[in-house]
Symmetry: C2
Subunit: 248 residues, 2 copies
DNA sequence: GTCTATACAACGATAGAC
DNA sequence: GTCTATCGTTGTATAGAC
């Protein structure tokens, strides 16, 4: 939608895409209000945020299956009966979470791909964009990764398709750069999957990086630099200063 | 224990470490026979393998919490009461699985580190060694990754310590190579975690690589080659021929 | 729109016959 | 060593008062 500078910061990212705060939760409400009994948006949005936040807290620490609705009732302060005015069922709650996240990822990544950036700028934007999203929607990403097998088969397939689509954007950029002579890449598919794994690690292994005091900027920059090395591209014009890192 | 050639194959790996077949299950039995009521090894080992295999099949497809002991009873052909002659409790079963895998990883990785290989040979051996282990013990790795949060806190910590120990072996090799002038590496910690993420992806995203027909050899070789590129090391003396890869 | 009270199915675990 | 039968608990979900 909005045009993106290739040296995007997380602050401009936050402004461009409303992924938090009241407007975000309002759009979540709009996305599945048909499955809710509560019609008044002002009261629905407040409790929806409570329910989702508590679900992430419980499910991401003990697992969604191990979390009971009695746990959720206690944590939100909403009674058992009250919860069912906001969710169709326990499984429905998980499905909605995956659906919302996938929609937003599709919007952001798809929007980026439509800008026809030069390969190197596109790669930088997509690496930083994904890390920014993971930072802001951290519990959403972690939940969807860990609880995917509990979702309906069709939804699992859609999540896998999204990951393949993400990688095909990367592959296209690799091959465009190869054609123009700035990259060398024999196995674009494998390189794309390596980048995916590195990005996903940012939300999967948060304990590791907070323990080692690795900042988000530093991590994203490093993923991008290593990617350029694997593409035999020495054009490492970094817009962000390197940060300190302990070598334990 | 046994000495390792640096161009190790999965066949020699299988012979060196008994990670499957009857001797493997016998050693699993030895590891937690104190928690079992069955004392006859010949009958215990057979049912132990049934129980573990069925647990992986059920838990890795629907999740350990979502798997009931009645499911397990049906899948193994052992009655509910019978199961409890082999396991202390459902949670105990998960704990044993994590404990067994961690013990074997420690043995293999620790044994490798004790061989004082040259940095580049050590890196090749540890990358291929981990991939081979993941290939042979695939369901064990996947289970431990996905079900870690359901385990006791102490055990979660031990699993994280193992991962950090694995990475510190990598970091040591990076820095040894930097000292001897064959590598360049500004952020060894981040590079080590990238390698970990790529290796773990081999068991986490098996659907992706079987769909793309990426072989284990091809994947391991690619991880190793990209690692050398990130270390600015052009000594890519590959012992394994490159394989075909579709560019979808 | 939110609550309390309750239905009832499924769970992990055990006792005791064989 | 393995089974059947059963215990007590906890789970999801709903009905109906307010």
């Amino acid at each position: 939608m909005a045009s993106w500078p290739s040296h995007i910061t997380i602050d401009s990212f936050r402004e461009t895409w409303a992924l938090e705060g009241e407007p975000f939760w309002h759009s979540v409400f709009e996305m599945h209000k048909d499955k809710m009994q509560i019609k008044n948006p002002n009261v629905a949005v407040i409790n929806l945020e409570k329910i989702f936040t508590a679900t992430f807290h419980l499910a991401n620490s003990k697992g969604f299956q191990a979390m009971s609705l009695r746990d959720l009732s206690r944590e939100t302060g909403i009674s058992m009966g009250g919860l069912y005015a906001y969710i169709g069922s326990k499984n429905d709650l998980a499905s909605v979470i995956e659906g919302v996240l996938r929609k937003y990822i599709d919007q952001v990544i798809g929007g980026l791909a439509g800008e026809n950036l030069a390969p190197i700028d596109f790669l930088r934007a997509i690496v930083f964009g994904e890390i920014y999203m993971m930072q802001i929607l951290n519990p959403w990403y972690y939940f969807c990764y860990m609880e995917l097998k509990g979702l309906p088969r069709e939804q699992q397939q859609q999540a896998m398709d999204l990951e393949l689509r993400f990688e095909s954007y990367l592959i296209d950029a690799f091959e465009a750069g190869v054609k123009s002579g700035q990259f060398v890449c024999e196995k674009p598919q494998l390189l794309a999957s390596h980048v995916t794994a590195q990005l996903q690690q940012w939300h999967l292994k948060h304990w590791k990086f907070s323990q080692r005091q690795v900042s988000m900027q530093c991590y994203a920059e490093n993923v991008f630099e290593n990617l350029l090395l694997c593409l035999r591209c020495d054009n490492v014009a970094s817009g962000v200063p390197l940060q300190n890192q302990r070598t334990a």
